[in-house]
Symmetry: C2
Subunit: 340 residues, 2 copies
């Protein structure tokens, strides 16, 4: 792996390569997953593949299906079932994205180039349902009720997390615990399930399967923490998100929770006005950034992320030491180091 | 069963009793289904049971789970699995209703007292996803991959039908075949699956399972035809729908397809203005009713419904002749006779 110099003089792994390593190792499997994804989003109703391909075929990191493939291979799996399960995991993720982009009635001003902006809310919802149903058909082909249980449970938990996020939005009384519940559910549950099913089909011990689930869960938390950090710090659109989206939507992420708790009365009034009453003016996002910096809210969010990342890496310790394990360890670096 | 006189002097079965018969026969099972439904919509996130109960606990006919229960019992099933599957079927139906009520961006003027009007689009979508995921967990408990395949396939077909309906809306070139595709998919597929899984868990022959599926599919088509008939003819809100909803939404249902095909140029221009361009004025709904009457469009829609109803009844002929079969035959009467 390449090493690049950081501005502060320390050395940093090249994080582009960190994910490329996993991609290269799983390239042949992933080509089959991509074909299966294209096959299973076909329908007699032309709008379905048209809308689905907007998200699915457009690419993206495909991180979650890569986790399923690598987890299975790490465990020495030689069969075919990891292909269908990886596609199923990607379909669940895509359905979630489609549904996440549905615009609320009270919330129509922010038009973005999401699927719902192009085809309308209703089409996004229904095509999401289609992909979600197709993901279950793909799972049935694994012929494992346990796999279905793991992924159906994860899907329910994702929905719970998304609803919880809806109820914490615009609520500056949200605690760090509330926030953690949301990201464990909406993000980490699918990361965990994606890894666990890979271990399960390889018929590893329950301990090993559990270790893979722990790896995925902690990786997912770290991933989401960095995402929420980036929303206040990324300087470009490399990750597909604009700086300040969370602020403009009144989302209560960890940086806000920390700054709110650590601030004085004036500062709390500022957060309430901008994120609760949604009364935002020119200069507010910049002032938010100053408050986050003053209270180390972004730096401490990253420290939390590093903690979970380390837990993820440690969870793999008892598993076979092979190139797939090394690649999964590199994914941890990718998830955290993209913050820099 | 009670018999009541019709206005034209012929005798008609009392359709309230037609469904009561099935309800009475399945009362003990249905009480367990209702308990399971309440149990499985619980969540740490309070908004979920709150919103779900708006639809689920509010009642409704519970026709689909009743079909699963009666199909299993008709086949002599003595186990417990029909309870969970009936709850799963109702959850799929409820999730579909929640997603069906999502209001499109372009479509915000018609405010109704649906879940989305009270809690917003996004909550409706996410709670629908939650119920959908929970339905799959309930299915996993049946320990039958075939059952999962039947219901996952039906779910995908429902979504396809709903998307197809979206693309036929406001399109007066919609053919009878297009319309049939939509209602087979969005309505009949779940009726068919609900019956088929009941037969499957009872381990009947493939022929018997298929017969139950055929019964459900044809019953579902008849049911939807009558629903679309009622939208232009019901004189009260007994069925929860106001007269003219489909017209106001520009939905192209069979009565419209027939009247459009049978009308002259002026009439077709009327349908295009009102349903395609959505330029509707006072008196248009009344004029639509006159055109439908002039071309026997409503009467012929009912004749089609009677045909499918008869096919449904006939499909049961090879199955054991017992009270559950008689109750399912009565359901056919209920679905059609509610038109009168």
């Amino acid at each position: 792996m390449a090493v690049v110099a950081r501005l502060d003089g320390t050395q940093l792994k090249d994080t582009t390569n960190a994910l490329d390593n996993l991609r290269d190792l799983c390239a042949a499997d992933m080509a089959r997953v991509n074909q299966l994804i294209v096959d299973h989003m076909q329908s007699n109703v032309p709008l379905i593949p048209e809308l689905a391909s907007h998200l699915v075929a457009a690419g993206g990191k495909r991180l979650r299906p890569l986790l399923t493939l690598a987890s299975a291979r790490l465990c020495g799996y030689e069969g075919d079932k990891h292909i269908g399960l990886a596609a199923a995991v990607e379909f669940i993720h895509t359905a979630t994205l489609l549904h996440d982009d549905v615009v609320d009635e009270s919330d129509l001003r922010r038009g973005r180039d999401t699927a719902n902006a192009v085809w309308g809310n209703k089409a996004s919802v229904l095509v999401g349902d289609f992909l979600f149903s197709r993901s279950f058909r793909l799972m049935v082909e694994s012929e494992s009720l346990k796999v279905l249980d793991i992924l159906a449970s994860a899907s329910a938990v994702i929905a719970e997390g998304e609803v919880a996020q809806l109820t914490t939005a615009n609520d500056t009384a949200t605690t760090e615990e509330d926030y953690l519940y949301v990201i464990r559910s909406k993000t980490a549950a699918l990361f965990a399930a994606a890894c666990q099913v890979g271990g399960h089909i390889a018929r590893r011990s329950a301990d090993d399967e559990d270790a893979l689930g722990q790896y995925g869960a902690n990786l997912g938390i770290a991933f989401q923490l960095v995402d929420d950090y980036l929303d206040y710090s990324a300087t470009d659109k490399a990750f597909g998100k604009g700086v300040g989206d969370d602020f403009r939507e009144g989302k209560i992420t960890l940086p806000i929770v920390l700054a709110m708790r650590r601030g004085d009365d004036d500062e709390r009034a500022f957060w309430r006005r901008t994120l609760e009453k949604m009364d935002q003016q020119n200069g507010d996002l910049e002032h938010a950034g100053e408050l986050l910096a003053a209270h180390d809210a972004l730096a401490d969010t990253l420290i939390r992320a590093r903690g979970y990342a380390d837990t993820a890496r440690t969870a793999l310790a008892g598993l076979p030491d092979n190139p797939h394990r090394a690649a999964l360890e590199n994914v941890v670096d990718f998830c955290v180091e993209r913050a820099y």
